[in-house]
């Protein structure tokens, strides 16, 4: 005869189980999911306390607080080079990093669809935890909601991050000045094309992997290579690609840009796939690339610093900022003609990040 253990709770079946509405209902099932999956994977003292919010230490004197949030609805959930989990960590870290901030903490919200496989959820959460750990950032608080079947798309993740901005750093989209150099940290379009290649209707064989990566270490390297005031704008060219990013900056700063098509790095795999699909790699999303606009005197040292970093091996100087009250971004084509490099119009790639 067995003796029942009154404290016994059957563990959640993370191999074969599925998300049901109870996991978001606030009862024991939810507490169990948090304990057995989220708290275990993210393992830190803030989460372990089990409170409603994380109480964080004060910043060093002179530092300012930076806050960013990013919602992730990518389809497919898993793709070469990453998944929605790692992407949700990198995306928010990068939003902080391009403000010059050192990312410190993340909060994560999960919207789960009833019926979603717990094995996939566990894989995604583990991937998030690995990405956060590698970046030296802790996921200190979170939330889980479950929506009825058909009202979600498996899983949506929103991450919010806080970072510390050291004194003297002040990059911003409105700070590009005529004469500044425009640098990119490597080949463009890999993430967008990796996602595109996985789409059911298109699925083609390709070696293209997402470039999803956390950029804060590269940013630190750049600040170590020059005086902070020489770094005018940092941005990660995600949705809309390089084209939209440069137009955003031009509009914010009230300047124009002249970009040289021949100097923009694009891998031949991405270029070939773009030819096939009639897409422009400069409209494709990136999740691990940096656009840097800097004072001309710092160009050489920043380019060298980028190239010396593992995430900047393919860096290039692609053009310069010019006077243009109408904010046109012009491209010198590979044939020597000129055209505009305009915002992405419409939506060639729905839901890619």
């Amino acid at each position: 005869m067995s003796t029942p253990d009154p404290a016994y709770r059957r563990p959640i079946d993370l191999k074969h189980g599925r998300v049901d509405l109870a996991f978001g209902a606030g009862g024991q099932a939810m507490a169990q999911l948090i304990a057995e999956l989220f708290a275990r994977a993210f393992a830190n003292d803030y989460l372990a306390r089990g409170d409603d919010a994380a109480v964080l230490p004060a910043l060093t004197a002179g530092e300012r607080l930076v806050l960013a949030t990013d919602a992730h609805v990518v389809s497919p959930l898993f793709f070469p080079g990453g998944d929605i989990g790692s992407l949700s960590v990198h995306g928010t870290i990068n939003d902080l990093a391009v403000m010059g901030a050192r990312p410190l903490y993340l909060a994560a919200s999960f919207i789960l669809e009833e019926g979603f496989a717990l094995a996939e959820l566990a894989r995604i959460v583990d991937s998030m935890a690995t990405a956060a750990r590698a970046a030296g950032v802790a996921v200190v608080t979170g939330d889980t909601k479950v929506v009825e079947r058909g009202k979600g798309d498996g899983i949506f993740i929103t991450t919010t991050g806080v970072g510390a901005l050291p004194a003297g750093r002040d990059p911003g989209g409105a700070r590009a000045q005529p004469g500044d150099a425009i640098l990119v940290s490597g080949p463009l379009g890999d993430h967008g094309m990796a996602i595109m290649a996985q789409r059911e209707a298109l699925a083609f064989e390709s070696e293209i992997r997402s470039d999803s990566a956390a950029l804060h270490d590269l940013v630190e390297t750049l600040y170590a290579a020059t005086d902070a005031s020489a770094i005018h704008v940092l941005r990660d060219p995600t949705r809309g690609g390089l084209a939209s990013t440069l137009n955003e900056i031009a509009a914010q700063s009230g300047v124009g840009m002249l970009v040289d098509e021949a100097s923009i790095p694009v891998s031949s795999a991405v270029q070939s796939a773009c030819e096939l699909l009639g897409l422009d790699p400069l409209n494709l999303a990136n999740e691990g690339k940096l656009v840097l606009i800097c004072a001309p005197h710092a160009t050489a040292s920043l380019l060298a610093a980028m190239r010396a970093h593992p995430l900047g091996g393919g860096a290039a100087c692609i053009g310069e900022v010019c006077i243009d009250p109408q904010g046109f971004v012009q491209l010198r084509t590979c044939l020597g003609g000129r055209r505009m490099l305009d915002w992405l119009a419409g939506e060639p790639l729905p839901r890619i990040c």
Partner: protein, 390 residues
């Protein structure tokens, strides 16, 4: 772009060859005359804009955008019937190519906006995807809204044949396929009248992909009846430049011929197999109302009676009615080459690629979208030299 090199593409975008061709064109073009050539295809319009080819041409060589953009010439009434069907019949899944979904139709709607109102409208990358969807969704009626010139017609013919062979009865097609030669005929016929709304043309840059299917022979009438040179050109920038040089030479030498720059893909007779397939499934409509060009006889295709079960127009008793363009929209004149995008009061004000009012602003191949996305910075340069407001 700085890539590690792509065979069969880089060769046709070589900057040195381009510079050589630009010199040859400048040398060949006689300074005392103007050359006005129409690139019929949106693919050429796109290439000219995308690569800034205008900058490589002398000022007296003018490229005039033609009507060869499938979504641009599609009359509003045709989109209206698709929207009407998708909204009225919840069992219908309406599929089409991406650009088609954004074309503005009546009542401020587009297929895209109809989706937000509950219509099941889906983007497909190919006709085959639409048929596959019908097989996956046997309880739904999958309707493929087929558009395009001779290039996209054979794939539509294939899926209709396959639907018959496989007995897929929940699949049907709204056929909007149109034909290139009648449109060229109409344009040059209008040009010959010398009317203000029809530009004089010294030559036609002939279609690339369309010609791979129909061959170069169907353009013979352009030389014979309209006494206008034709050079069929590929869509790569060097193809375009080489073809422009060939057109200039024909004009200079007083020759009128159909020449083929795109010999690596286009033959005299074209793709016979594709032609037979199209012939088997489609027949010519008596007339079709093109946006901009008006009603042109024998200029479009419909599904043959033998395939009536897959003809959505019959299956759902669809009938389109003519719908006028927006009052101030100059799409019609732009499609005829009579006006430039910047001549339109709506251009870059209320009509942009984000919120298109006219069809020419929808597809990247449309004259207005190409000028907006790639060339509108030139308008102020032109304004500065002519003293007009941009």
């Amino acid at each position: 772009m700085s890539t590690t090199g792509m065979r069969y593409v880089d060769e046709f975008r070589d900057p040195q060859l381009a510079a050589g061709l630009a010199r040859a064109i400048a040398h060949a073009a006689r300074p005392r005359r103007n050359y006005a050539f129409m690139e019929f295809c949106g693919g050429h319009t796109h290439a000219i804009s995308r690569y800034g080819i205008t900058d490589l041409l002398p000022a007296n060589v003018h490229m005039i955008h033609g009507p060869g953009c499938p979504v641009c010439v599609l009359p509003i009434g045709r989109i209206d019937i698709a929207i009407g069907l998708a909204l009225a019949r919840p069992d219908v899944i309406l599929c089409s190519y991406g650009d088609c979904l954004r074309v503005p139709a009546s009542a401020g709607l587009s297929l895209h906006k109809a989706r937000a109102r509950g219509a099941d409208v889906r983007m497909v990358y190919s006709a085959a995807d639409a048929l596959a969807l019908a097989q996956r969704e046997p309880r739904r009626e999958v309707v493929f809204f087929a558009i395009g010139f001779e290039t996209t017609t054979p794939p539509t013919a294939v899926v209709i044949e396959q639907a018959r062979a496989l007995g897929v009865d929940n699949f049907s097609v709204i056929c909007n396929h149109v034909l290139t030669p009648p449109a060229i005929d109409a344009l040059l016929g209008a040009a010959a009248t010398g009317r203000d709304d029809a530009p004089h043309l010294d030559g036609i840059l002939g279609p690339a992909h369309v010609s791979t299917v129909i061959g170069s022979a169907p353009y013979d009438f352009v030389a014979e009846h309209h006494h206008t040179p034709v050079v069929i050109a590929g869509f790569e920038p060097l193809d375009v430049m080489q073809a422009i040089l060939m057109l200039i030479r024909q004009v200079n030498e007083g020759r009128v011929a159909v020449e083929n720059e795109f010999t690596r893909a286009v033959s005299l007779t074209g793709n016979r197999k594709a032609q037979a397939l199209v012939e088997g499934v489609f027949e010519r409509r008596e007339a079709f109302a093109w946006r901009g060009l008006g009603s042109l006889p024998h200029s479009a295709l419909r599904i043959r009676p033998a395939f009536a079960r897959w003809d959505a127009e019959l299956k759902f008793a669809l009938e389109d009615r003519p719908v006028p363009d927006h009052r101030a929209c100059e799409c019609a004149a732009i499609l005829r080459g009579a006006k430039r995008p910047s001549d339109c009061a709506l251009f870059a004000t209320v009509c942009t690629p984000q919120t298109p009012l006219g069809a020419c602003m929808v597809s990247a191949e449309g004259a207005c979208a190409a000028h907006f996305s790639y060339g509108r910075f030139r308008d102020r340069e032109r304004a500065a030299t002519t003293g007009t407001q941009p």
